[in-house]
Amino acid sequence: MIAIFSGADIAGLLRDCGITHVVTVPDSTLGQWEPDIEAIGIRLVRVCREGEAWAIAAGLYLGGALPLVMMQCTGLFESGDSLRNVLHDWQLPIPSIIGYRSFLNQETLPGDTCLTFTEPILRAWKIDYRLVTEPSHFDVMADHLRTSLANGTAGAVLVAEGKA
């Protein structure tokens, strides 16, 4: 597994941003962050399939919490109608972290079509995202999340991952 950020880095950033809940389906990179996120006092809401995540986050936000959705790009593909409804119909500014499968290497999935579709899909859904591909990009991620939260927009960070 290649991980460009540690769980402690991510948990600290989310805490500093005021995130109260992380609604998530793990992958081999994002899942490693779960213990640190929970340890820092942010509630994890583990969902069965990614479409649930946007709707749960919407309910949390409507109730006064500050949720973040965290899933792999494959889950982004699966959850399109739900995010369309939450982010565009209702215009709820739910931030997200999306794992970009196979960006750093394709050892286990040569020719992974996630590389073909992930960014076009994000653009199609009109999600304002930043791609971060190395540890030095941490500030890019932090700035984008903070700015999105301050502006009330649904910013996403696309985090490069290694094998599936």
């Binding site: 069965c48 749960i56 949390l60 409507l62 006064g64 119909d89």
Partner: protein
Amino acid sequence: MSDPTAMTSLDALRLLHAVRRDHDVVISAMGAARDWMALGTHPRDWVFVPSSMGQATSLGLGLALARPDLRIIVLGGDGGLIMNLGSLITITGQAPANLFILIFDNGVYEVTGAQPTPAAPAGRPDAPPVDLAALARASGFETVFRFGTLDEWQRNIEEVLASRGPVFAVLSTSSLRGAPGPRSPGPAPERARRFMAELLGRKGTEPAS
């Protein structure tokens, strides 16, 4: 074929409307939203139109977690439920004591012309029927109700709403062939802002659930 003697969702909702507390949040989707809106409006109604079909249970979970001081009542149909069955497991995993899921089971996708769902007997003629209440139990709901008549619902509605959540209740209702889908009661973003203001404006003044 629907049973003409079965309760209608409108009649069932009329009973709920009579016992709904002022601070309760009611989330309604699809045909249940149409019928709930027909009974009036309330600032704590979240009419989930437009929606992503099946996500009302999930939105209800989020609200229940954010506002454990409030009773969150979700009104949905069997078609929506089977689009998001995993949400039952997610809900019980979070164990919200204030979440009440009421499913109006008419066996069809009513707003698209009453085609049978794959869970309904008419949609699976060569297979055994699907038991939504049993699915809920197997997903971890400890408090599950099933009502087949309006009288049963009327006699038990207070018990349902007084139970510790998460609660799952399935009500067998008749289908209305040709019934229209729910119409959005106004611009969604504006309704979201009003709803949030209502919930946040009265926060801290709620009676204990």
